[in-house]
Amino acid sequence: MSAAGASLLATLAALTLVKSTPIIYAALGGVVSERSGIINIGLEGMMAGGAFTAVVFSGLTGAPVIGVLAGIAAGALLGLVLGVAATVFKVDQIVAGTGINLVALGGAAYALTLLYDQPGASPQVNALGSNYWILVAAAFACALLLHAVLYYTPWGLRVRACGENPRAVYDAGLRPLRLRLYAVILSGALAGLGGAFLSIGEVNIYSDGMTAGRGFIALAAVIFGRWTPWGATGAAIFFGFFEALQYVLQGRIAWLPSDAMQAIPYVAALVAIAGLVGKVRAPAADGIPY
């Protein structure tokens, strides 16, 4: 292989890791939420909330680390809202998640205009810069940790039981709604972290629509990954690869229009969720209020 080809492959591999990272975080969030029995359609909004809050706090304090923590907190807060709606009020989870997305995406756009008086994008703030790789590595650490928690701790067993048969959890003297609530808060925190990586990891601003459906792609990754942390991580890398491919191919293949390349990750997600006929089984009580 030529040197140019090798360096192109190296670029593609590196970019795949970077583009996968926010999707991995959100997909892990999707896994923990759905394993507890709550479908988190609000991942997209939680990512946007995390991305925006991270920029605001990094700008206020000058410390991107504070920004990342604030992004996690913002995602967790939105997770709490979804969790309360889905447990205490037994709201349909798809409907509640759609509401969360409108509130978070609209709220970020609203606050953007209020705080910076410039619609569309925030000013530049201090970002993680070359330290962004820590969050890339941490994504894999989170996958490992979530795997360990879900399969090797009592709490993980209880959360998984909530997703299969919450009544049995209740009969065992535990509190399924509370367990679900905690799982969704954790889910939001992970999505918020993914959003923070988007805004102050990869770049140094928040711009309207920067999540670009990654939260929804993460949901596809959860299904494609069969509701397991490692599966979802693999699926997220699969989607991240196609997103990276789109950047690498841009300007190199004249006959393929850029719009077609931009559609690649979404089409890949469509094919992925359609191509698993008969092979996947969601948690039995996923999406069903208890």
């Binding site: 509401g99 756009a109 609203y110 459906g213 929804f216 979404y266 359609a274």
Partner: protein, 341 residues
């Protein structure tokens, strides 16, 4: 206490809450709510032009909301009205710009193109669900993004008007415009078609065998299946029709308001329409009322931004909160005992 609870749990409570939240959004922006509401209502109901503009927004929201209503009634979460509306508008715009026919029926041919285009886009999700059991929430969402890419590619390439500077189709010949309902405004007879669609949908859902089977498929899928409803076929039909109604909306915007197609034709009507359908309680006639209410917000939101300096995105926050509160209200209204947490 019970009377208060049921009053607050009803739509009246939701509207009050919406006003309260709007006031909070205005205070946050440093604007007195009095000025904000004045701008909101003058901008939406303050005169003939403003009322016409509110009704233009009502029409744009009503079509996709009716489509969403049909799918939700069948138990299918069609979150893809935005993409279906876009493809419907694209089909109408492409047909109008390239196969111009100087007949009085030209506008209705364009609407038919939008119906077919949106239906095709909905059918993709329907087929994926019926054939491969692919979750329609995710497929319809993904198809929104793909729809935008398809439309963007076509209007910046093959369908681009040579005369236009931006990415848009050639303008429609005047003969294929939808007739205006109010002269010298942007309000076309698209509004009447949307209202007609609402009555037809209501009739189909409540008075036909197909409507009964569709509701059965949504309310009790297992019972419907055992009683002979062909579930895959119903899934395909429901999502196709749902997309077709949204596509009809896209065509009515193209043929009635913009008179050409571009990818900025919808500021998220397909997403707002989810709120409209839910606020209208998935009942076609109440959805008409809800669409008018949201039409006021959409039309007034722009005036609020221009006159009172409240960012119009506040409207979306309010819409999202209304969804959350209304979804919770059934529970509050029917709650008899505290849930064990």
């Amino acid at each position: 206490m019970n009377a208060l609870r049921s009053a607050l749990a009803g739509p009246a409570g939701a509207i009050l809450l919406a006003f309260f939240l709007a006031a909070c959004a205005m205070l946050l922006a440093g604007v007195s709510p009095a000025d904000g509401f004045e701008a909101l209502f003058i901008g939406s109901l303050g005169g003939r032009q403003q009322i016409a503009e509110t009704l233009v927004q009502t029409t744009a929201l009503l079509f996709p909301a009716l489509g969403i209503c049909l799918a939700f009634r069948a138990g299918l979460f069609n979150i893809g009205a935005e993409g279906q509306l876009l493809i419907g508008g694209l089909a109408a715009g492409a047909a109008g710009a390239h196969f111009a026919a100087a007949t009085p029926l030209a506008a209705f041919v364009l609407l038919a193109c939008g119906f077919v285009g949106g239906g095709f886009w909905g059918a993709i999700a329907g087929w994926l669900r019926a054939q491969f059991n692919a979750n329609e929430v995710i497929s319809t969402l993904m198809l929104n993004f793909v729809a935008f890419n398809v439309a963007s590619y076509l209007v910046s390439g093959p369908l681009k008007s040579p005369a236009a500077t931006g990415a848009e189709t050639a303008p429609l010949p005047t003969s294929s415009w939808l007739p205006l309902l109010l002269p010298d405004t942007r309000l076309s007879i698209g509004l009447l078609i949307a209202l007609l669609a609402a009555f037809v949908l209501r009739w189909v859902l409540s008075r036909t065998v197909f409507g009964f089977e569709l509701r059965a498929a949504g309310d009790a899928p297992e019972a419907a299946r055992r009683n002979g409803v062909n579930m895959p076929r119903m899934t395909l039909l429901a999502l196709t029709l749902s997309g077709a109604i949204a596509g009809l909306g896209g065509a009515s915007i193209v043929a009635g308001v913009l008179h050409r197609f571009n990818t900025q034709m919808s500021p998220g009507y397909g997403y707002t329409a989810i709120a409209v359908a839910l606020v209208g309680d998935l009942n076609p006639l109440w959805i008409c009322v809800a669409a008018f209410g949201f039409g006021i917000l959409e039309a007034g939101g722009l005036a609020m931004q221009a006159l009172a300096d409240v960012p119009k995105d506040a409207i979306h926050v309010i819409e999202g909160l209304i969804i959350l509160v209304l979804a919770a209200r059934r529970y509050i209204a029917t709650r008899t005992q505290a849930a064990p947490i």
